[in-house]
């Protein structure tokens, strides 16, 4: 299979403009003849469904939550990047492009990243017009703050609830289209299969989570906006419902899965307290604007933080990366925290934690300023830990957070399957091996508002109507989904899906988490199939398939994680280099930084499913860099 990214010719800055001119249009009267399915209602899904509805297409939008407003984009805290240069600090499209490409450790496409930077400004305009209450200066202009991996202030925010406010903007735009009849919304509906008829994505099979009914929907194009797969680690910052199922099912129907090993471990989360824990809570990266990260210099220093004098503290990020200090990119900040804890200098229960200290900022700005900037985050910390962060430093530790990998898409955001588009975190496209803070919201909305609505029209104009629901593939997919549900219910073992998920997550965190090595990956690849076999033999699901059954929903998602985890480790094993969030211990510089191998690994690894118990096939899309020179990332 030859992977064609369909990147337009011409100079970088003109590529998107050129592509937009090349794209065929669907005339307004014909748009209503086309039906499009959008799966997911987060930033990418809601913005896409609303924009497509505005254009005049007939849209159906699906989400597993009880309301479109509850998709996990809502939990994004810190902000959204744009190259507005309102701060007059030297920002530009060119600089945002460069920071994002470098932040991703040169494992993303130049053309995609450049386009993302280009459309970033229009996103802020659109959201402000929707009534998103962004933070303002006293004069009424929009305010900005800084985020990791950048030396300019380009992050727009709405307190610590930026994701919520942007999502409500998109949800409201979507609600308007629902009222106008152009979008039909299906809540508590989970996509369980993609229907591919005659080589073209032609619809989906969904299960109504309340009635248990399995139905299929036919359409002329399918858009997956189903988010990331970090929940494969069990403990992550993702919501409980986040899963890999939709993209994994599409993968099994032929869509290539790209760079699954590019997972992001976020440096600033509240540490694990015990085995009962169901998820980890993120403390926004924006805290690193004013908080200083440190650990005791001495191993096993049991003193209270206030009892440790300045001279015995190691502000390790400031020491190792004086240029960026506490605002080093996420992968670097996470790995540094792990190193410090591995050396026995960690703090808190189990020694897996470091301090995030605001005492200098409180002295400099006063407690009120800190409360205004981060009040809700400080409150959240206190609720969870029972400790007051105004008085003692926070304890933080990295946690699984975001998936840079996802389904492979070309420049038009279409997968290798005709008619299957993938947007937002569900695709692999723009963040390379590491995503910078405040770039996920930017990408989700760029895809949904400003890219997909153009490119999907071109596909429809060229390919016309898809297969009708009468095609035998629909019945085939429906019955495959039904029998899988029955198989889950029939398993009459002794262990819950949750206990399997926990074990799988632990295995992955141990061997395919912040640091990976060959021996560990081999071990994981040996144990995952065994665990999967046990899952199907020893699983216990109670209740029936004919009503709301959380145990059944969970079991189905864990079953897919069990399969996906193997691909994740296989990709990590194949990529014998370190880059961004993928750190292979065998490949590091003398001072412990990620050592890339541009000669052998400057490519996108796209995996093709070949069937059960058959090894997947690796396809490579080589990455060429014409506008930047590949450098060893340095934040010193």
């Amino acid at each position: 299979m030859k992977l064609d990214a369909k990147i337009p010719a011409g100079p970088l800055a003109e590529k998107w403009e050129r592509r937009r001119l090349e794209l065929k249009l669907v005339n307004p009267a014909n748009k209503r003849k086309f039906e499009i399915l959008v799966v997911g209602s987060g930033l990418a899904g809601a913005s896409a469904a609303a924009s497509l509805g505005e254009l005049g297409y007939r849209v159906k939008c699906f989400c597993f939550q009880d309301s479109a407003r509850r998709a996990h984009s809502i939990a994004a805290q810190g902000g959204i990047n744009a190259a507005k240069n309102y701060q007059n600090d030297g920002d530009s499209v060119e600089r945002l492009f460069h920071d994002t490409l470098k932040g991703g450790d040169f494992r993303s496409r130049e053309a995609n990243v450049y386009r993302l930077a280009q459309v970033s400004n229009a996103i802020i305009d659109q959201c402000a017009a929707q009534g998103v209450p962004f933070a303002r200066e006293y004069g009424g202009a929009l305010a900005n703050r800084s985020f990791g991996g950048a030396q300019v202030s380009r992050t727009f925010y709405a307190r610590g609830q930026t994701g919520q406010q942007l999502l409500l903007g998109a949800y409201q735009a979507l609600s308007r289209q629902i009222a106008l009849g152009s979008v039909k919304l299906f809540t508590r509906s989970e996509m369980l299969d993609l229907v591919v008829a005659d080589g073209r994505a032609s619809g989906i099979v969904v299960r109504d989570l309340v009635s248990g009914k399995i139905t299929s929907h036919a359409a002329d194009a399918v858009v997956l906006a189903t988010g990331g797969y970090s929940s494969v680690f069990y403990l992550s910052t993702n919501a409980m419902g986040c899963n890999v199922t939709a993209i994994w099912r599409a993968h099994k129907k032929g869509a290539l899965f790209a760079n699954p090993c590019f997972t992001q471990i976020h440096p600033t989360c509240i540490p694990v307290t015990g085995d009962h824990q169901s998820k980890l809570t993120l403390m926004s990266e924006s805290l690193r604007n004013d908080g200083r990260i440190w650990a005791p210099k001495k191993k096993g220093d049991g003193r209270k933080p206030s009892g440790i004098p300045e001279s015995e503290r190691d502000y390790y990020l400031e020491r190792k990366y004086p240029g960026f200090g506490n605002l080093a990119p996420r992968d670097i900040a996470s790995r540094s925290a792990k190193e410090v804890c591995d050396e026995g200098r960690g703090v808190g229960a189990g020694g897996r934690g470091v301090y995030l200290d605001f005492s200098d900022a409180v002295k400099r700005l006063g407690q009120d300023s800190i409360r205004e900037r981060y009040g809700n985050l400080f409150d959240m910390y206190e609720k969870i830990t029972g400790e007051n962060p105004y008085q003692a430093p926070m304890r933080i530790y990295p946690a699984a957070h975001y998936a840079m990998g996802g389904l492979w898409v070309d420049y038009n955001l279409m997968s290798n399957l005709a008619g299957l588009f993938v947007i937002g975190e569900a695709n692999f496209s723009d963040h390379g091996a590491n995503r910078l803070g405040a770039s996920a919201l930017m990408q989700g909305l760029a895809d949904g508002y400003f890219i997909l609505p153009y490119t999907i029209g071109d596909y429809l104009a060229r390919n016309g109507k898809g297969q009708a629901a009468g095609h035998p593939e629909f019945r085939k997919s429906e019955s495959a989904v039904s029998s899988r549900v029955q198989k889950l219910l029939a398993a009459n073992g002794r262990r819950t899906a949750d206990s399997f998920h926990r074990e799988l997550g632990h295995l992955l965190w141990e061997h395919c988490g912040m640091a990976r090595n060959r021996a560990g990956l081999e071990k994981a690849l040996e144990r995952i199939p065994a665990l999967r076999a046990e899952f199907w033999q020893n699983l216990k699901v109670t209740g029936s398939g004919e009503d709301l059954n959380p145990a059944l929903e969970r079991a189905g998602r864990v079953a897919d994680f069990m399969e996906f985890a193997e691909l994740l480790c296989r990709d990590a094993q194949a990529r014998a280099e370190s880059c961004g969030g993928h750190f292979r211990e065998e490949f590091q510089t003398p001072d412990g930084e990620a050592l890339r191998d541009d000669k052998n690994f400057s490519h996108v690894a796209a995996w093709e499913y070949k069937g059960e118990s058959v090894d997947p096939e690796l396809h490579k899309e080589s990455l060429t860099f014409e506008n930047v020179s590949l450098e060893q990332r340095s934040y010193k």
Binding site: P133, Q161, Q172, V210, A239, K540, L548, A551
Partner: protein
């Protein structure tokens, strides 16, 4: 810690429900309330029973999915906190804890502790938006918005749409929810064009859904996990009169 739970179990909207006693044993003080329920559910499944159905997702107090009435109070005893962020250290070992779903005619029970809140979505669909198509927005800084005004808009916009306000109100009124959205958009220059029509349409839909009226009890404000002020209701009433 050990607790005696009295949990509302109901098969579906057609069948009647009732409180069922269940033990929660070996609970850690660091657990969140939902993690305590996770533990109970694991045991129920092990024993071959159906787990308690309850809505939850982000567990960070922002998605608004969780919806439990705990000892008679929506989201439980801690102020300004959604049930997912309530921790067991707030309870005493040996306590009896009663857990019920949101109760309101406009929020029918789906199963156990899960209710149908789609009425809220329909109220937003009736007018809770600014009608601006993608691509037709002016430069973001072209319309300055005073800091105080932006902050007030944000205070109202912080609503997570959980429905605790309805569950707490003896009239099952949705005024706090509707008023939060009306206030948010009426505060901003972008919301001015549709200001009058918006409040009329949203209030009409609220009434159609079967929510009750506001009789100034302020229970809604007391249980709101985002501590949205009843001041927004006064603002909505002014908006409605002017429209």
């Amino acid at each position: 810690m050990n607790f005696k739970l009295k949990v509302w179990r109901q098969k579906d909207a057609r069948n009647k429900g009732g409180l069922v006693e269940i033990e929660a044993k070996g609970v850690s003080a660091d657990m969140s309330f939902l993690e305590m329920l996770d533990g109970v559910n694991e045991e129920l499944i092990q024993k071959g029973s159906e787990p308690i159905a309850f809505d939850h997702d982000c567990r960070e107090g922002i998605c608004g999915t969780c919806s439990l009435v705990i000892n008679g109070i929506p989201h439980g005893p801690e102020r300004g906190t959604a049930a997912c962020q309530l921790h067991m250290r707030k309870f005493k070992d040996g306590d009896t804890i009663v857990i019920e779903p949101w109760r309101a005619r406009a929020f029918p029970v789906v199963k156990d502790l899960v209710v149908d809140r789609s009425a809220f979505d329909r109220i937003i669909q009736a007018g809770g938006f600014v009608s601006v198509n993608t691509g037709s927005a002016p430069e973001a800084n072209a319309i300055p918005i005073g800091k105080e005004s932006a902050e007030r808009a944000m205070d109202a916009a912080a609503c997570i749409g959980c429905g605790a306000c309805v569950a707490a109100c003896k009239n099952a009124s949705a005024m706090l929810f509707v008023a939060a959205k009306v206030s948010h958009l009426a505060e901003l220059p972008q919301g001015q064009v549709e200001r009058g029509a918006r409040v009329k349409k949203m209030v009409a839909q609220m009434d159609r859904e079967g929510f009750g009226n506001c009789t100034n009890q302020y229970e809604c404000e007391a249980v709101c996990p985002k501590e949205i002020s009843v001041g927004v209701i006064a603002k909505m009433n002014r908006e409605y009169r002017q429209s």
